[in-house]
């Protein structure tokens, strides 16, 4: 029995760290699925051999909490199953924190990337995880990245990844955007992404891991 448990753990963790798993939380209509795809393309352009990106399978409804995922790997990805232990979670809308446990399954040394107004209470997050916060809504609004009266926050959040994934640089993001948008939209999106990159606040937590082990 003891041996079986060992084998089972071996299966569960097999090549698990070969894949960088990213989970996007947003609301239906915010474009989490699109930005998850753009990240996959940028990742591919930066040299990741295996990339996948998928919506959380099912019907899409505007306003409902939705999940999208991106996987990046040095090897071809064979595992098409859904993400259960992400390395990075991205939250497009801070109001989601009330209704969803966004850190579920997040690896202890994982990253939380949050779009939030500055006054929002987020202490519980950066105490335990690496943490990036940015007011992408405001930046998008100022830059005029607005569609149907609503600031677009999905692509701007890509700017934060340049702090987390060293392989990906601005040129990859730019080329990825070109595959999804018109030249005019690309430059507008790209400007906002650059601003988000500069203005986001990165808080690397060095102690979180030990704390988590003790608790």
């Amino acid at each position: 029995m003891e041996q079986y448990k060992e084998v089972s753990n071996f299966f569960r963790n097999y090549k698990k760290d070969n894949i960088i798993q990213i989970r996007w939380h947003g609301r239906g209509g915010q474009g989490a699925v699109t930005s998850a795809k753009i990240l996959a393309v940028a990742g591919f352009l930066s040299g990741y051999k295996g990339v996948t990106s998928a919506p959380f399978f099912g019907a899409e409804r505007r306003g409902a909490p939705v999940i999208a995922t991106t996987k990046l790997s040095k090897d071809v990805i064979c595992d098409f199953s859904q993400i259960d232990s992400p390395d990075i979670v991205v939250i497009l809308d801070n109001t989601l924190l009330k209704s969803i446990n966004i850190t579920q399954g997040l690896k202890p040394n994982g990253w939380v990337i949050l779009n939030t107004p500055p006054q929002f209470e987020y202490d519980f997050l950066h105490n335990h995880f690496n943490f990036i916060r940015v007011n992408a809504t405001q930046i998008a609004e100022e830059a005029g990245l607005v569609y149907a009266g609503i600031p677009l926050v999905n692509t701007p959040m890509l700017g934060t990844f340049l702090h987390v994934l060293p392989n990906i640089d601005f040129s990859h993001i730019h080329r990825a955007l070109e595959q999804f948008f018109s030249p005019k939209a690309v430059s507008k999106n790209f400007d906002v992404i650059s601003r988000v990159y500069k203005e986001c606040i990165v808080e690397k937590s060095e102690t979180h891991f030990q704390e988590l082990q003790q608790s």
């Binding site: 084998v7 071996f10 299966f11 393309v41 019907a59 595992d79 199953s81």
Partner: protein, 427 residues
């Protein structure tokens, strides 16, 4: 009925290059995009489809190509899947290369027309984006829809990833137009259809070379009018010219023979494709680490790609396991498959569908092909992933590990052998 001369064939390939957004080379695309681009590259002339989740993006992409003037095809919006296949049948008889796609209940609604298409021996290619059959209502993936149409007389090819979807669509036209049978290109809904992954988009000029123009077997000729598929009696009959014509049964024999003959064609076309484009789409089935294997997993679709990982992890635990990824489910490669499964002690089939009241469809066929070859391995039917239930590689690995040990210790009981085993069913 005469064979059409070459000069009479409708000139195809009105499009002169790849779609603007998808030049030859590597792209990161969803399975649905992959299928649509495949149809584009084959120069389809008529597209008729009715939207259904998770197939809709295929048709959206194709209608965009048509709307943008990139693909000079007739896009026919229809009011149902039954009509969609009806339009495809008419267009294909008229000599056009046609494409459609559907899923689950749409496919079931098309059922009658599926038999018309195959009985009329029309080389229609259809994307079947595998989805669970209602009831209860589900939009998520399993393979019950296409498996339920097993006996519709279509060729059914299963794809493992998005690269294979585009390759299989291109191959499908080549196969279909050679043996005059419709082909269903089956790929898992959401898992492939909505997931982006890197794939190579082929060059249109190479596709042109690979795929000769479609010559219909019975051309529509105003000077030589024919009534296609009239009431055909059981017994043969003499026609007006005194020629003894097939009865219903002879036509069915020919239909079946064409399907059996297509076993060779599918392999030939795949190897020719490999010569032209540098990669295979899996032939009739593909083998992974089976040479020295004693236990083998048999499955189809995206699950067989995931099981490569499973085999790797089990091999590291010193389990002598291999994998057979079934690509051609109909025609069923019984002879070649049983040869590949010879000397294997334990065979684990994993179905994402069920022949209610018995076992998984793949399992049933594997068992029968082993029996006819005189192989008496133990075959165990596993059912997994119904209605979008997520399948984790470790679940399959644990199951295989467990059953291999049971086999070694002679612990397999009749319950294991006579009943299907359900993976991760929480009942």
């Amino acid at each position: 009925m005469t064979v059409l001369n070459n000069e009479k064939t409708i000139s195809i390939y009105n499009n002169s290059s790849n779609p603007k957004a998808y030049p030859p080379g590597k792209h990161v695309l969803t399975g649905n995009q992959s299928a649509a681009i495949g149809a584009f590259l084959c120069g389809v002339q008529v597209i008729a489809a009715y939207p259904i989740t998770p197939q809709s993006p295929v048709v959206e992409e194709l209608s965009k190509f048509v709307e943008d003037g990139e693909l000079s095809a007739e896009f026919v919006p229809v009011e149902s899947e039954h009509s969609a296949m009806g339009v495809c049948i008419g267009a294909s008889i008229a000599g056009a290369r046609v494409f459609t796609a559907t899923s689950a209940n749409g496919l079931a609604y098309m059922c009658e027309q599926l038999h018309w298409a195959s009985g009329s021996r029309l080389p229609i290619v259809m994307g079947c984006v595998n989805r669970a059959m209602a009831a209860p209502w589900s939009v998520l993936n399993d393979q019950q829809d296409s498996m339920s149409q097993r006996d519709a007389g279509w060729i059914q090819l299963f794809c493992r990833d998005n690269q294979e979807i585009i390759d299989t669509v291109i191959q499908a036209y080549r196969i279909a137009e050679k043996v005059y049978l419709p082909v269903m290109v089956c790929y898992d809904g959401y898992i492939l259809s909505h997931t982006v992954m890197p794939l190579e988009v082929p060059d249109e000029n190479k596709v042109k070379k690979f795929l000769p123009p479609y010559i219909p077997h019975t051309p529509i000729d105003i000077n030589n009018p024919v009534n296609i598929n009239p009431v055909t009696l059981g017994e043969p009959r003499y026609n007006a010219n005194g020629v003894l014509c097939h009865g219903y049964m002879e036509h069915k024999y020919l239909h079946h023979k064409a399907l059996r003959d297509s076993l060779n064609i599918i392999e030939e076309v795949d190897s020719e494709y490999k010569d032209t484009f540098g990669r295979s789409a899996g032939g009739l089935f593909s083998l992974y680490k089976t040479d020295d294997a004693e236990v083998v997993i048999v499955c189809a679709g995206s699950l067989s790609k995931m099981n490569i990982l499973v085999v790797d992890m089990l091999r590291e635990q010193n389990i002598p396991i291999g994998l057979v990824s079934l690509r051609s489910y109909r025609p069923f490669p019984n002879q070649k498959l049983s040869a590949a499964l010879k000397n294997k002690k334990l065979i684990l089939t994993i179905d994402k569908s069920l022949s209610y009241g018995y076992q998984g469809p793949i399992c049933i066929d594997v068992k029968s092909c082993l029996f006819e070859a005189g192989i008496s391995s133990i075959v165990i039917s596993f059912i997994a992933g119904l209605g979008g239930r997520d399948i984790k590689p470790y679940e399959i690995a644990e199951t295989a590990y467990d059953y291999w040990n049971k086999f070694l210790n002679n612990e397999l009981n009749s319950e294991n052998i006579y009943e299907s085993q359900w993976i991760n069913c929480k009942y």
